[in-house]
Amino acid sequence: MTEPAAERRDESDDRQADGTPQVLRTDADAASGLSKCPRCGATQIALNIGSGMLRCSFCRDEWSTPNANEAFALDQGVDQLTGVTMGSGSADIVPSAEVVLTFKCGACGAEIVIDTASSTQARCHWCRNKLSMNEQVPNGAVPDMVLPFSLPKERAVEQIAQFVRKRRFFAHPRFREEFNPENVLGAYLPYMVVDVNAHASFTGQGEHQTRRYSVKVSDDRSETRYDADLYDVGRDFDVEIHDLAVVSSRERLDQRSSTSNNVINAIRPFDLENAVTYDSNYLAGFTSERRDTNVADLAPIVDAQSTDVARHAAHSTLGFYDRGVRWDHEQLTVKGQRWVSAYLPVWLYSYHQEKKDGRSMVHYVAVNGRTGSVMGSVPINYPRLLLTSAAVEVAGIVVGTIILALGAIL
């Protein structure tokens, strides 16, 4: 099969050559340091999963930050996008930017360290106040928006236990022994959410079946033949792509079968329209993974996936071609893109498997922190699976031989 010539043109290239992308400021009101309850001034604030709001542990007051779509007008004007627009939390990571940052406690003056690789909060060890990092520094730790957990841990534990229970027979014996779904961790994973305004153009050929019939190829054997009409086919259209999400952690992008990162990808989609403007307090009690890729790193993946989306969007007009269409030339002309970084909620059960040859692999069972959708990888007891497959093969050979013999007799 010949690969169609795929092109991706960017009408904004000229604009990019003399300037930087348009930046959508998303941390205008953010402040790092002590983040206080607006009612009582305490800093013990965390997400109440039941209500989806932030709650003060002292006075029980609840509030939430604004919806990100409304605050940054993300749901409007995809068809008007030109050039590249990016949230300020999606800005390029500066290699010299520190990952471990020091803040001065606003209550007692102590110097407090926050390791942004896995969190954007730390507790002052002197006065016990909690310090938050909400301002965006160019190290990828603070995104433009966050989608808070709405699925409680108990539900995630149930989902994981049920998923594994259905896969016990061929599970590795050590895994069966050590499996404990209570060890699930809530993690906010970094994603880039991209809106694309583009023009798609596909040309190729398609076939429409006009007749199906049997022909005798020997005395006791007939084969099916088909007649078809061949057409030159072209589809030319504008396409708006909303909320195309790509994970922005280099480690999670590796979804080959030697990892189990693909199962985390498989629990999507997330209801991104309910994401809110960033506040570190949503992450209290959870872990987070810092973004370590830039827009330029992810652009080739977004372009490939955008072309997939456009190709699929043309399907509804191809019903006549019941034998299929072969696109020889595909072109996606990108008029505009909007990139926004986000933390999305995932309950993760991880199992580190040490293999006999010294290699190791981490198996994940992941639960969507919003919808409860679950997917996972369970380490296999290969001797048992191979033996059982061999038994099935022997049975298959016996049955197959009997059928062949019956066929010869009849």
Partner: protein, 110 residues
């Protein structure tokens, strides 16, 4: 095993040839292994971005011009049909997987 049974029924209905049905059973062990492997490891699972991403299309212009009629084709599907192909899946051997490997060598993170 259900899939194997379906394949078997289809094959028998289509050709009525006992020998092909019998030969299918010879692959039972390999099919069982593959089905179980995928059930436990789920290496084939991914988010279907091509169909599940919200899309709006406008100003669709179609061109369909008959070229000629084809007779006596052996395949039920068009040779080289690729209108359902997906190239941006990260867990396949496709283009995106190669781009991802390049990212591993030249990525930004420390």
């Amino acid at each position: 095993m259900t899939r194997l049974a379906e394949v078997t029924v289809l094959a028998s209905t289509d050709s009525g040839d006992w020998s092909s049905v019998g030969l299918l059973f010879f692959a039972a062990g390999f099919v069982f292994y593959a089905v179980m492997y995928l059930r436990y490891r789920n290496t084939d699972k991914r988010y279907q971005h091509e169909s599940r991403t919200r899309t709006v299309t406008n100003d669709m212009r179609a061109r369909d011009e008959k070229v000629r009629s084809l007779k006596g084709l052996k395949n039920s599907r068009m040779r080289g049909a690729n209108h359902r192909s997906v190239k941006g899946a990260l867990n396949s051997g496709g283009g995106a997987a190669k781009l991802m490997s390049a990212l591993g060598r030249h990525g930004t993170g420390r």
